[in-house]
């Protein structure tokens, strides 16, 4: 079996490509291939035409059937108000947001909202401490995101929301505009794969470029960056999406899928269990990839030689962002492992702990894991046999574990 990258991507890959559903490295590889291949461009046009014709059909059916909601939004408003009354007092969140939107001095409103939040938090903490004194210290003693937690026997950890810091990072103030902008964007979670770029200039100023992030998001970003000396924000149309991410080189992608899916579903207790696990794993994988790409980007922008020239204040701010990404990546990795372990066990794979691979970079290890997870659970085609898929999964687990251990 040829494990090399096929000369031309198949129709399956091209369809996933036009739907933007391939892992980014593969997406970039096909984009590059299409730039020079008329045959595949023609194939893409055929697929796009099929999609267009289906949409034309669907529009015609919708128009002919004339199905539409007949109740106005005013009707829904009345029901919401009635429901609100039936449910009683609005929740804390509603009250806080309501306070923030009241007319009047902004400072007073924010203070009132803050007092309400703090008072509620204090009451909640006091109540919990009274009710559960024995467990009071336990969660705080757990090292957050410890790689030691990666063990098949552990219950799945609470899922951090992929792509968003699980806890607000303690970020230091920065002096250099580029780092100040990085810190702010990180606080907003805008450094996790959104089309937001940073363009430094020779005089030390920096331009943050938003490419079709949406009006609300752009307002949020502009507001966060407003007032930082040397930082300006510019809007541009979507660019060529050249992320500089390297194309995959380890595995061949072609037609196929996961030949183990049916057997696995049986061993894990049914398709529903497999489906749930698959969706959870891919969510965590998304979070992991967002973090490692963010770290990769920082590494490129601030190599060691440049970091050495930064002020202590800027180095501390940069380090805080890096540590936060690493912490989140470790949590994502632990969450992936806790879900993949039962699957590996069902496949009869040896524990990856038995292997001691040389510690790879976290970027390479996460990319390898991303590729295999997408083959296993994400519909990415593969020419690997079931046994090869299993072995690759185990190798990727060992590599990721070693990489995360190295940055812990």
């Amino acid at each position: 079996m040829n494990k090399l990258q096929p000369l031309h991507p198949g129709s399956e890959d091209l369809l996933l490509f036009i739907d933007g559903e391939l892992p980014e490295p593969r997406q970039a590889a096909i984009r590059m291939h299409l730039a020079g291949c008329w045959k595949c461009r023609a194939e893409v046009e055929e697929l796009e035409n099929a999609v267009s014709q289906f949409m034309r059909y669907q529009t015609a059916v919708d128009a002919a059937e004339g199905v539409a909601g007949t109740r106005s939004s005013a009707d829904l408003r009345r029901k919401l108000e009635r429901l609100d009354r039936e449910l009683g007092r609005p929740g804390l969140w509603s009250r806080v947001r309501h306070l923030l939107t009241l007319p009047g001095p902004a400072f007073a409103r924010r203070v009132a909202a803050g007092i309400l939040v703090m008072a509620t938090a204090w009451a909640a903490v006091t109540l919990v401490q009274r009710l559960t004194p024995a467990r009071r210290m336990a969660p705080a003693m757990q090292p957050a995101g410890s790689v030691q937690a990666i063990a098949p026997t552990l219950p799945p950890p609470a899922l951090p929301k992929p792509g968003v810091p699980a806890a607000p990072p303690a970020l230091a103030p920065a002096g250099l505009p580029e780092i100040a902008a990085l810190v702010k964007l990180h606080t907003l979670g805008a450094d996790l794969g959104e089309p937001v770029e940073t363009e430094p200039s020779a005089d030390g100023a920096v331009t943050v470029i938003c490419r079709q992030v949406g009006r609300e998001r752009e307002t949020e970003i502009r507001s966060a960056l407003a007032g930082i000396p040397g930082v300006t924000v510019r809007t541009e149309p979507a660019g060529p999406q050249d992320t500089g991410r390297r194309p995959p080189t380890t595995l061949a992608l072609g037609s196929g899928g996961n030949p183990l899916e049916r057997a696995l579903a049986g061993q894990l207790g049914g398709k529903a269990v497999f489906d749930r696990l698959a969706n959870e794993i891919l969510e965590q994988d998304d979070g992991l990839m967002a973090r490692v790409y963010a770290l990769h980007d920082i590494e490129k922008r601030f190599p060691a030689s440049r970091q050495a020239g930064l002020s202590a204040q800027d180095r501390a701010a940069l380090e805080a962002v890096i540590l936060d990404h690493r912490r989140a990546a470790i949590e994502n990795g632990a969450a992936i492992e806790s879900r993949v372990a039962p699957i590996a066990k069902a496949l009869g794979l040896a524990s990856p702990a038995a292997r001691q691979p040389a510690a790879p970079g976290i970027f390479e290890a996460a990319q390898r894991m991303d590729r295999i997870l997408n083959m296993f659970f994400g519909g990415s085609p593969s020419k690997l046999t079931g046994a090869e898929l299993g072995a690759e999964l185990n190798a990727a687990r060992a590599e990721l574990r070693a990489a995360l251990e190295a940055v812990r």
């Binding site: 129709s11 369809l15 996933l16 739907d19 559903e21 697929l47 035409n49 099929a50 014709q53 289906f54 949409m55 034309r56 059909y57 669907q58 015609a60 059916v61 128009a63 002919a64 059937e65 004339g66 199905v67 539409a68 909601g69 109740r71 939004s73 009707d75 829904l76 408003r77 029901k79 919401l80 108000e81 429901l83 609100d84 449910l87 609005p90 929740g91 804390l92 969140w93 509603s94 009250r95 947001r97 309501h98 923030l100 939107t101 929301k161 609300e216 998001r217 949020e220 899928g257 996961n258 899916e261 529903a272 497999f274 489906d275 698959a278 969706n279 891919l282 659970f377 994400g378 519909g379």
Partner: protein, 185 residues
Amino acid sequence: MSIGALGPAVDLATGAIGPPMESPVHELVVQLYEEMRDPVCRYLARLGVPRTALDDLCQEAFLRLFQALRSGKQVPNPRAWIFTVARNSGLNAREAEARTQELDEKADWPQVASADPEAAILKDETLARIHRLVEGLPSDQRHCLRLRAEGFRYREIAGIMGVTVSTVAGSIRRSVLRIREAIHE
């Protein structure tokens, strides 16, 4: 769009839409309703929900979203959330309907139309071919296509339908390749 406790999509900067209300959550839900009412009703119709029940089930999904947000629940993807709830309600309603009258095999495909949709579609040869093909697709494949046409990503469709992403990818792949063939017949 992400909403829930302090989700960024709640646009407070632009001010309230309509009369003052208790919280911006109201406004957010109403805004979503205005955007999604017709697609949700169409989706419910294709699940086999009788026309007379479409509005009720559609509004129920938005009321449940409101309740969830009000109780502090995180709803990272409200569009997919609404469709998931609508799908579950629609399938329940269809089951209830089936208890009173036996459903035929195609009950999950257009049960609507005051006019005859086929008459308009069949005038166009390409659309007629696609129509025949789509009608012959398994129900799940049709729903995957429909949801994709509504703009959902594979992962969102998987969440709504309770299947894996690879199942969605396979369904869409097979359907699109068959549509491509049908166009060139």
